[in-house]
Subunit: 466 residues, 3 copies
Amino acid sequence: MENGLLHPDRLFPADHATRALARDLFYAVQDLPIISPHGHTDPRWWGENPAFSDPAALFVTPDHYVTRMLISQGVSFESLGIGTDCETDPRKIWQTFAEHYHLFAGTPSRIWLDDAFSRLFNVNERLAPKTANDIYDAIAERLPHPDTRPRALFDRFGIEAIATTDSALDDLSWHIAARESDWNGRVVPTYRPDAIIDPDAQDFNANLDRLGEITGCDTTTWDGYLDAHRSRRLAFRALGATATDHGHPTPMTADLSIADARALFNRVRGGKMTNGDAELFRAQMLTEMARMSLEDGLVMQLHSGAFRGHSSQVYRDYGPDRGFDIPIPVSFPVALRPLLDAVGMDPRLTLILFTLDETTYARELAPLAGVWPCLRLGPPWWFHDSFEGMRRFREMAMETAGVFNTVGFNDDTRALCSIPARHDVARRVDSGWLAEMIVTHRLDETEAYDIAALLAHGLAKKAYKL
Amino acid sequence: MENGLLHPDRLFPADHATRALARDLFYAVQDLPIISPHGHTDPRWWGENPAFSDPAALFVTPDHYVTRMLISQGVSFESLGIGTDCETDPRKIWQTFAEHYHLFAGTPSRIWLDDAFSRLFNVNERLAPKTANDIYDAIAERLPHPDTRPRALFDRFGIEAIATTDSALDDLSWHIAARESDWNGRVVPTYRPDAIIDPDAQDFNANLDRLGEITGCDTTTWDGYLDAHRSRRLAFRALGATATDHGHPTPMTADLSIADARALFNRVRGGKMTNGDAELFRAQMLTEMARMSLEDGLVMQLHSGAFRGHSSQVYRDYGPDRGFDIPIPVSFPVALRPLLDAVGMDPRLTLILFTLDETTYARELAPLAGVWPCLRLGPPWWFHDSFEGMRRFREMAMETAGVFNTVGFNDDTRALCSIPARHDVARRVDSGWLAEMIVTHRLDETEAYDIAALLAHGLAKKAYKL
Amino acid sequence: MENGLLHPDRLFPADHATRALARDLFYAVQDLPIISPHGHTDPRWWGENPAFSDPAALFVTPDHYVTRMLISQGVSFESLGIGTDCETDPRKIWQTFAEHYHLFAGTPSRIWLDDAFSRLFNVNERLAPKTANDIYDAIAERLPHPDTRPRALFDRFGIEAIATTDSALDDLSWHIAARESDWNGRVVPTYRPDAIIDPDAQDFNANLDRLGEITGCDTTTWDGYLDAHRSRRLAFRALGATATDHGHPTPMTADLSIADARALFNRVRGGKMTNGDAELFRAQMLTEMARMSLEDGLVMQLHSGAFRGHSSQVYRDYGPDRGFDIPIPVSFPVALRPLLDAVGMDPRLTLILFTLDETTYARELAPLAGVWPCLRLGPPWWFHDSFEGMRRFREMAMETAGVFNTVGFNDDTRALCSIPARHDVARRVDSGWLAEMIVTHRLDETEAYDIAALLAHGLAKKAYKL
């Protein structure tokens, strides 16, 4: 490739004049600071600033986008260093990865990986069996250097603020450590209470016991349980949290009477759930979380619609987050109505919606966000965090929702090195979209520049109060 | 903007050669008369020809596309002149509108509004806080003039025929007045019997009593009730109606035995409905309406899939049609089958289908319209009456349905001044689509011109018998 | 048209540079042999090699894409030579077809028909009322010639291998005749056991009796019934079959205990089905078929989601496959899970999924195929075997599934003359897609050429073991 791994015009529209506009829009936003309001970086990175151990541990083993594609073509988990009696030599794992790197042709993963290889490790050749060793060496040699440690990467990436996602039961010690260090990077936790809200979660009752110990609240009663949430939310806020996040199977909400809610809690807590109680409890808790947001100002995020652990065998032998999470159909209007009717017109609430079911973009999410004052649309999530996925989102949601009811970009990643690449892709795709809006005279050029900056930086900062 | 608000090449494809073809196709159809076979203009406008009172009452307060976007960003209904104790100064309402006009960037509303401001009121600057007063004055000063009254606008817009949408219980007095006036514009009513078909409608039983009074039929019996429909349909036909319209929550149809239908009617009429009876009654009535269409030739339209009044509070305090109507998933094949099996092969029936659920375009509606002789596809409806929405409809439905099983464009609006803009957008988007069909050699140039004229004029005229 | 019916650049992107790339990619693959691993050509053609009788019988009467469009615009089945007391003069049927040929503007049928008219019969004018007779004559005159018989067409089309679709009860005599002839074309059967798996099938019990006779197995017991399947699968394999095909209303699967499966079989076989038993039996049988594939290596195909015979009247008077089959919504993750959990990680299984519900491409099918080692995605099916349908598939599925989890193209046709046209369209659309991938720097040019060849030939050959 004459331009190495990264062509400067990548992801821009083909048409000559449109591409020129896209390029100029991109130049105007490419260096804006990164706001990363939702993601899964490891808080230990920020609290301890450790060096990464090796290229396979950095790029292969923990990345479920990578492992899922390899598994789909018959590579074993063991050969990727996952499971009992698995490969332990990172160079061999890397070699397996390189032998199958052609599988990623046309996928977002390849864009992110090539970008990281190129920007951070000066790699200029595509990963392949014959380049595998050289690239391994190029990466491995940089990893011990101070400038490849997490905090240095944070600074090099131009991150203005990053949020992690943390269990409600987490002691947030790494966040405390980061705050107490001499490093000034802004890292904040996000309140993710699934483990104490979802009656189907593993060890749910034990989690509630633990919640009681941590907070000193009586989590055997509905009222004490709600107080315990309030207490934990305050603890998160004290460490900079501006948001909560809820990973529910469906977006169902409920608004029960206090008596009914207490009775439901007692069934759930007492191990006497009947059919539908778990779903109803999760539904009720979304509305309770929204009510608490009115009090404490935390922005609410809802990520629903993933069937987790689609293979029982894989879940049992290799654990969660191995790529076996599959989207299912969802529908929002009926599901969200109880919550919205309860608190949706209150100007203190912000509820950011995410979906894995793109059929809801134009049919439901854009019409909902285009009228309810509390609602905002999160960016294309997970499988849709891609060139085509972002294009579809813009084309299907913007005319009805309007750009001001969106929240910019989330990288949503546990792969640290992919953060700049993901924001780069989003800024390129949005620049291309805006260029086409100009060329078709749906936007003026000046307002397109304003919107480009909002999409890259301003909307996320405002929506997440960062 | 060097070309003012309206660029002559707006909405055409970016590619140079394709744009040139699109422009030529558009020139060939831009001045064809407007057929507006489905919409919500106020019959009083045509019967009385009143002047519009002020810019806010013309462009802001009644337009639910406008109010919904403003509400979504925290503007209050009261500040828009809606509700008790609301703002009553139209200039202040206009100022609020102008301060938030940037929210409409990239939305169809801005295209329609800019077009109306520019064409009708010679406005050449974008509405903004600093231009608000001048634009208000420019509009306000024209409103009393005779050429800005409804009938003059009808003529200026080049409307060949327009249909309103009227309750089955309406006395159609404004239609009579229009006919008896010296004005020759063709305005026809459309039979919309939801209030006497939907058992969940407000005052349903009182509506049926009233229906009995109007028609002299015994609406306490199934047979008398059906006769009353026949009578009202004839009255509508006598005033030029060529169509009926049905706004049902779902497209479910039924074909009960007469005995079962009578029993169902008795339960519904007698206030003894059981679960599912309301839905079943609406379903049965669609088939009855289709049967009556065989007799009287009225074309049938079905608009299903809107969840109306999504906010109880807004509905209670500010009424219907305030932007809180949200699409829900629908599916047609099973739902329509009873009606189709009963009368779908009869050459006398035309049933035009609309959807807010675009997932049905390629999966269901195109395959259905591409085989059932009675079925035609309505244009993209409501939130999908937009550049992207129209493109998706063409791309998803045309290959299987064929253009001849569609019915051209509906403006479907209660915003009179937006009518030419909406037809302009549709003609531009279709010209762009046809240009791409030519460039990719999927259509010959000559047939593309023929199809452009059909989409702009001929198909609507034929399908609606106008 | 200056270039006759077929423009050499048809279906390529409009942008000049992208089109040039597309053209070169297409040149590289246009003459690759055709692998046709799934379709509905008549085995008699291959066994007996008869001449086709007349143009109407070749192009009109049996083609449900053609008849459905004509029916949709009021043409009668009788005038197309279908039904009792129908038109029997093929020239008159042809004239009716020609008079309505404009209806196919912009449809895939026209591309296929024009291609066949042009390539096989040297027709250079569009079919229309005034050209109808000449084109009829041009075709009719070639039909008796040896080079227009099926085996000659097979050779002229450059077919490397073709699979038919055959009832499990078929004696495969035409396949035997083809094998025993002096002709060397590779034609293989496909095991399609719907008639002995679907309890809702006509004569289901009689079919199982017949299955018992053919195989000598006791099909009154679950174990004997399964053995009978094994026996028939072996018979198919002996004649070259590499695949099975399953046409189920839904993709539901089940994995019952042996006791429950036996009891279910007994209810189904004994005419004592209760509600849901038919669906459950089909579901269980998909898992049984997958288990047998582990034993005998047959690749499994699942075509689900068609509502067959949507018009009762048409089905009764004119039979199946008349165009009245309509897609319905489907969802795969929950439905497939029992089968996948049972055998989905086994490297011996290949299960190729097809859908008529495009909403599943990005939401479900790409995520599923992008992780389960057994799963592959079939090409766009039926109504989606079209320019726009193929583009949507590439745009919605490739980023997550990856091209290597797809299986190239299926022509899936019973219209022999359309086979080269269909593969031509697929190769053109894929060349255009790959050209855009290059221009936007999502693929290197060299890998795009490799992928073009895989999509046109290699992936089908490998996935179907042909």
